[in-house]
């Protein structure tokens, strides 16, 4: 497979870009932030997403979705990254849809997937408990009770946690924090007794929540995949999320870079355009190279996910690690080269910096993934 978009993928990109840049430029996020919008995204826009087949992009056609692949999901994420549009796409359409599609039994699939595809159900994955992404450190307990389980514990950085209709919770059915064995994924209803949800207002003004579960009862039917064997399923689903976030970071890096280059061509100091200064030219050129290399690594990862999720781990680690460092650099250079302007809230650049920071932590930062690659290579 070539690492260039096919004609269909380019058309998908164009239609997504049209919709997103028209309906959700950065000012859209700014408005949601300033008005302290309780939902944190536009339901109307989400409905348009569903009508265009985006909400169910990864859902198989038999369940009412478009049955497309991760390359296509990446195309959308990149466009989302360009305007920082807040939307349930990542949590619901990419991560949760993949978890249900890969781990769900027939009943779970036919109950949830059509609703995800139609945009009527929002879902999210709840994994991390500490400050850093460490999926194996899960200690939220699932204790057998009668036919089902009782869940107790807490999760942080649950994307869209306060608006989700369905949680996919990583819990420990045996073993202890740090171990691979003994993890199980559960479907849980946010409205169930014992669940408390605190919306966390994050630096990037995107939706996230802390959730707490106190003896929350779930039936045996709510196990996703196999009891105690959730790690493999979780790995695959997380890799999909990582590939998608890498694509979002490519989009935001490219956008912030494009804006910076424009600025270099227009801003005058010392009687010259600042873009004439070689010190800035070379930094801009280096950043361009960085972004192009990261874009290729990300496409490679998405392609690997499409062909074989299980074997994609290294390609995903490379992409997420690269995307983290590149996006960090892109937003930092963006602010720096805009001078004082870049530090103002009135100007959009800061929004990119904040979102890049969140994307970096989401599903593992550059250090985490670099470490994963070293382990995979046996040193």
């Amino acid at each position: 497979m070539a690492l260039v978009l096919t004609e269909e993928q380019s058309m998908l990109r164009d239609s997504a870009r049209g919709l997103i840049s028209d309906k959700a430029p950065v000012s859209h996020l700014r408005h949601l932030r300033d008005s302290k919008d309780p939902t944190g995204f536009s339901k109307e826009l989400w409905q348009s997403f569903a009508e265009m087949g985006f909400a169910g992009l990864l859902v198989p056609e038999e369940f009412g979705g478009s049955g497309l692949g991760f390359m296509e999901a990446g195309v959308l994420m990149e466009e989302i990254g360009r305007t920082l549009m807040p939307s349930p796409f990542l949590a619901t359409s990419v991560v949760a849809a993949s978890a249900l599609n890969r781990g769900g039994n027939a009943a779970q699939k036919s109950e949830y997937l059509p609703k995800l595809a139609s945009g009527s159900l929002l879902a999210t994955l709840a994994i991390d408990e500490g400050a850093k992404h460490r999926p194996l450190q899960t200690s939220l307990q699932a204790v057998r009770a009668g036919n089902g389980f009782k869940l107790s514990g807490a999760k942080a950085l649950v994307v869209d946690g306060h608006v989700a209709d369905l949680f996919i919770v990583a819990a420990r059915t045996s073993g202890s924090a740090g171990e691979r064995e003994g993890l199980t994924l559960f479907l849980a209803n946010p409205k169930a007794k014992g669940v408390s949800v605190e919306r966390t207002i994050m630096v990037d003004a995107h939706n996230a929540a802390r959730i707490e579960l106190a003896n929350v009862e779930v039936t045996a039917d709510s196990v996703l995949g196999e009891v105690d064997q959730g790690a493999a399923l979780l790995d695959g689903v997380l890799d999909i999320g990582r590939g998608a976030v890498a694509a979002e970071m490519v989009g935001l890096s490219d956008e912030v870079f494009g804006r910076t280059v424009e600025y270099l061509k227009n801003r005058k100091q010392f009687g010259k355009l600042i873009g004439e200064f070689q010190a800035l030219q070379h930094r801009a050129a280096e950043l361009y190279v960085d972004i192009e290399i990261t874009r290729a690594a990300t496409m490679k990862a998405l392609q690997a996910l499409d062909t074989d999720v299980a074997k994609a781990a290294s390609a995903v680690a490379v992409a997420k690690a690269r995307a983290g460092t590149t996006a960090t650099r892109a937003v930092q250079e963006g602010v720096q080269m805009h001078g004082g302007m870049g530090m103002t809230d009135q100007f959009d650049i800061g929004f990119f910096m904040k979102r890049a920071r969140v994307c970096e932590e989401l599903f593992g930062d550059a250090n985490y993934h670099t470490q994963q690659l070293a382990l995979a290579r046996g040193y």
Binding site: L3, G275, Q278, A285, E292, V318, A319, R377
Partner: protein, 404 residues
């Protein structure tokens, strides 16, 4: 859709090609040729005075030559393999997988050939391309002069018209392997009063012509891979000019794109043992099996990330070119990154090797192969245009920054 049908049958054909290629390589590539060359003497450069360093080297070269695979993507009529870009990619991937060496290293292949294919006339193509493909003539590159390095277009070597000939006078510097080369492709000034870029011609001549002399220059690596080259009234027929007289800059630039693409490939040769394992040999591992030097391990791991990403980008560059979406200056971006990365690789290798990597002359160190190679890589970000110049090109041609 018809579109995807064609690509389906293309994919099937490519798969067949892959299977056949793998089988052929397995059957024909001698085991000795499936590891990287350890020194320059181990590399086959061809030419009138060429010698094979070993029997397997000869066998491998001849088999590949007979298949046209010294230059797999050149047309068959010029001794090439006539492969499509996609097939060429498959061949390279299969060779990389088994660690097969290139059978022939040659400036003719990397630089002159592509320029002749685009700008040469029929007679020039017929004369020179098959000899390059068959490794019969070894070429060198006469571009740089003492006062024209990064600012290449300010070159001063003169070519004066005299009947059907040009008479060439001047000197070149940093001419790699000029003392071993049979022919030179050379930039000369044919119009001294025209604007800098408008009076240059691209010309070919035999290094045994009267008036050509070379003097090797010793490098920090202890080797003398290149020379000062002097031209004292060298007579060259005008028919040896490639392209139009005074329009040689176009040819020169086109050739440089190929040179840069070739040099950038250094950064993504993920063949051989992973750095982390090489380092473990000398540094040792802790009880968890991790490299017993956390900082070094971190450096290697982030190097691995960047190397894998660069490999993806190199692959994408080929795909973009195939799809007609490549930016002509993209080779400068790749050249910059690939060479900086290769320098990093060798810094890590030196630091991983510790004291052992410092040995300069001994059997055990293969005559200091590692430190010499390390020193050699410092030239990667200079030769073929410096990193600063590459970034300048990206700033100007791709980003379109003012006054760049």
């Amino acid at each position: 859709m018809t579109d995807s049908q064609t690509s389906d049958s293309e994919t099937a054909d490519l798969e067949t090609f892959r299977v056949e290629t793998r089988a052929w390589l397995e059957a024909n590539c001698p085991p000795e040729m499936r590891k990287p060359a350890t020194s320059d003497a181990d590399v086959f450069w061809g030419g009138r005075n060429a010698k094979f360093s070993s029997e397997p080297q000869r066998i491998w070269f001849e088999r590949m030559r007979d298949k046209g695979w010294t230059v797999p993507d050149w047309p068959k009529q010029y001794g090439g393999g006539g492969l499509s870009a996609a097939e060429h990619k498959v061949l390279r991937a299969e060779m990389a997988k088994m660690g097969a060496r290139p059978p022939l290293s040659s400036f003719g292949i990397w630089m002159l050939g592509p320029a002749l294919l685009k700008y040469g006339n029929d007679a020039q193509k017929k004369e020179h391309l098959p000899k390059i493909a068959a490794g019969l003539i070894r070429w060198c590159q006469g571009y740089s002069e003492p006062n024209a390095g990064s600012d290449l277009a300010s070159l001063q070597t003169r070519a004066e018209s005299d009947g059907d000939d040009f008479v060439i006078t001047g000197s070149k510097i940093w001419t790699s392997y000029a003392n071993y080369a049979d022919w030179i492709f050379c930039l000369v000034r044919t119009d001294p009063v025209a604007k800098k870029h408008d009076g240059i011609s691209f010309i070919l001549f035999d290094m045994t012509s009267k008036g050509v002399s070379t003097k090797p220059i010793l490098l920090i690596s202890g080797y003398s891979p290149f020379c000062e080259t002097f031209f004292d009234g060298v007579r060259v027929p005008k028919s040896h000019v490639v392209g139009t007289v005074n329009r040689g800059w176009d040819v020169a630039k086109y050739l440089l794109q190929h040179e840069r693409a070739m040099i950038s490939g250094m950064g993504e040769r993920g063949v051989g043992r992973p750095l982390g394992q090489i380092a473990a040999d000398s540094v040792g591992s802790d009880t968890l099996g991790r490299l017993d030097d956390a900082m070094l391990r971190g450096q290697i791991a982030s190097f691995d990330v960047d190397e894998a990403a660069l490999a993806a980008c190199a692959e994408r560059a080929v795909d973009l070119a195939k799809a007609g979406q490549a930016h002509p200056a993209f080779s400068s971006a790749m050249k910059y990154y690939g060479t900086e990365l290769n320098k990093r690789r060798y810094e890590i290798l030196m630091s991983a090797g510790g004291v052992d990597a410092l040995e300069w002359e001994s059997e055990r160190s293969r005559q200091g192969a590692r430190p010499r190679a390390w020193l050699r890589t410092k030239a990667n970000s200079i030769e073929g245009g410096t990193s600063e110049v590459m970034l300048g090109i990206v700033a100007k041609r791709i980003l379109d920054l003012p006054g760049a």
